[in-house]
Amino acid sequence: MKKYRLTALIFIGLLFSLFWAFPVPAPADEDIPKKFFVAPPPFSEGIFPCSQCHKGMPVNRTPRKLEQMHQDIVLRHMPGGWCFDCHNPNNRDTLRLANGNVVQFEESYNLCGQCHGTVLRDWKMGIHGKRTGMWNGEKQYLLCVHCHWPHDPKFKSIKPLPPPIQPSDIR
């Protein structure tokens, strides 16, 4: 009988130690949106906030050639698309997901991730995109739009730095 009591005591002790080790079940990763240390979005000079011009302007949803402003934007991303696929017509200072959720420009990666989900996953892991800072500490992330202009996102070709000197050219 004594022996059983001892076993029971140990068992209860173990149970309690378990609760002590894991007091609250940790919330799943999806519950807390992870914050990334990203640089501010690369707006052209003086263009933000968009509402400084768009305030009070009627919303025109028909795709057309823009003539007074933003003529430099040629949409070479998602053929057949239009501004309001990503920009929020009700508040121009924000972006809008396909499901209607509003996204700030500072978190525009969530917008890109609607289609490029695998890339967003890689970006969050640190595989896609450039990281600077500390490998064991605070890492500086870049937004998608720092490298990919969202209206024409393909990375543009650049001039390479000079090749190494060939042995035949060494004097």
């Binding site: 892991m125 500490g137 390479p160 190494p164 060939q166």
Partner: protein, 305 residues
């Protein structure tokens, strides 16, 4: 017969002693006999030095560099961090062959400008050929724009092998693998025999045929004894994963220079590091894996499955 010979000639020991003294007298310039010269001459092996001795050596080196380059150059000797094994990743599906890494490395690590020394070589391959035929690669490519259609690029630098053939080849043990996995060279212990260069299957080591030539104002003053401190004529040097940066928690210079973010760096022992993530989730290969060098430099393809 033997007795006769012994009478006639000087015995072997006396001869050797005399010869050694004579040679020593000619080899050591006595006019240069300041304390620093003799200290350098009798410097101990880095790995056998205690902290006090290391400190002294570093003080001497800093003094020498200050005299030579007329500016303050800090020589660090940060130790390997515990629980850290450095690994490197390079995304071949992203690299555009722009050589920004090559020159960022030169700026950071005080390589000679003339004669030119680069620690990173970017190889260009034709797409669709037998994969990775190194004989068919081109390192002098120079188009007006990269990437060029029909080609891909593969930068090669020291692969920081876990089983480094160069270390085995060194007759003076002037090169060794540190606890955090970086293969380093002690430039004061290297005799310049270049056996390590012959042993390296990746062509990652470089030799200083002349005194490294670099303008004093271009010298990066933040250095490490085993890394980017100014080198001597006749010593071998190589990529050290920017030991002076990474041992202080920073990313290597090439990682921060890459405009497409193809270069990845992290701790292989930390399951949350980007290195572990990419090894676990991407297609990864290592260069010349069949040689059993076990490199810690992983080439991978983030895009296109």
């Amino acid at each position: 017969m033997t007795e006769k010979k012994a009478e006639k000639y000087i015995d072997r020991r006396t001869f050797l002693r005399g010869a050694a003294l004579g040679l020593a007298a000619t080899a050591l310039p006595l006019d240069k006999a300041d304390a620093s010269f003799w200290e350098a001459f009798f410097q101990k092996y880095y790995r056998e030095m205690n902290e006090e001795e290391k400190k002294k050596v570093i003080q001497r080196l800093e003094k020498e560099y200050a005299q030579k380059y007329k500016k303050e150059i800090k020589v660090g000797d940060e130790k390997a961090l515990p629980g850290v094994l450095f690994g490197y990743g390079l995304d071949l599906s992203r690299c555009i062959g722009c050589r920004r890494c090559v020159y960022a490395c030169v700026d950071e690590n005080n390589q000679s400008k003339d004669p030119q020394i680069h620690w990173i070589t970017v190889l260009r391959f034709k797409k669709g050929e037998k994969f990775l035929d190194l004989e068919e690669s081109e390192k002098y490519y120079n188009p007006s724009q990269v990437p060029e259609p029909g080609y891909f690029y593969m930068p090669v630098q020291c692969q920081q092998c876990e089983n480094p053939p160069c270390v085995k080849a060194c007759p003076t043990q002037a090169t060794w693998k540190e606890p955090d996995g970086i293969v380093v060279v002690d430039y004061n212990w290297c005799i310049g025999c270049r056996y390590c260069m012959a042993a390296c299957p990746y062509g990652a080591r470089r030799f200083n045929w002349t005194t490294p030539n670099r303008k004093p104002e271009e010298i990066n003053p933040k250095t490490h004894y085993l890394g980017n401190r100014p080198r001597y004529k006749g010593v071998v040097e190589k990529c050290t994963f920017c030991i002076q940066r990474t041992r202080n928690g920073r990313y290597p210079a090439c990682v921060e220079a890459c405009p497409v973010g193809a270069r990845k760096f992290g701790n292989l022992l930390d399951p949350d590091s980007e290195m572990r993530q990419l090894i676990e989730h991407k297609r990864v290969f290592r260069l010349k894996e069949d040689l059993n060098t076990n490199p810690k430099f992983y080439y991978f393809f983030a895009y296109g499955r």
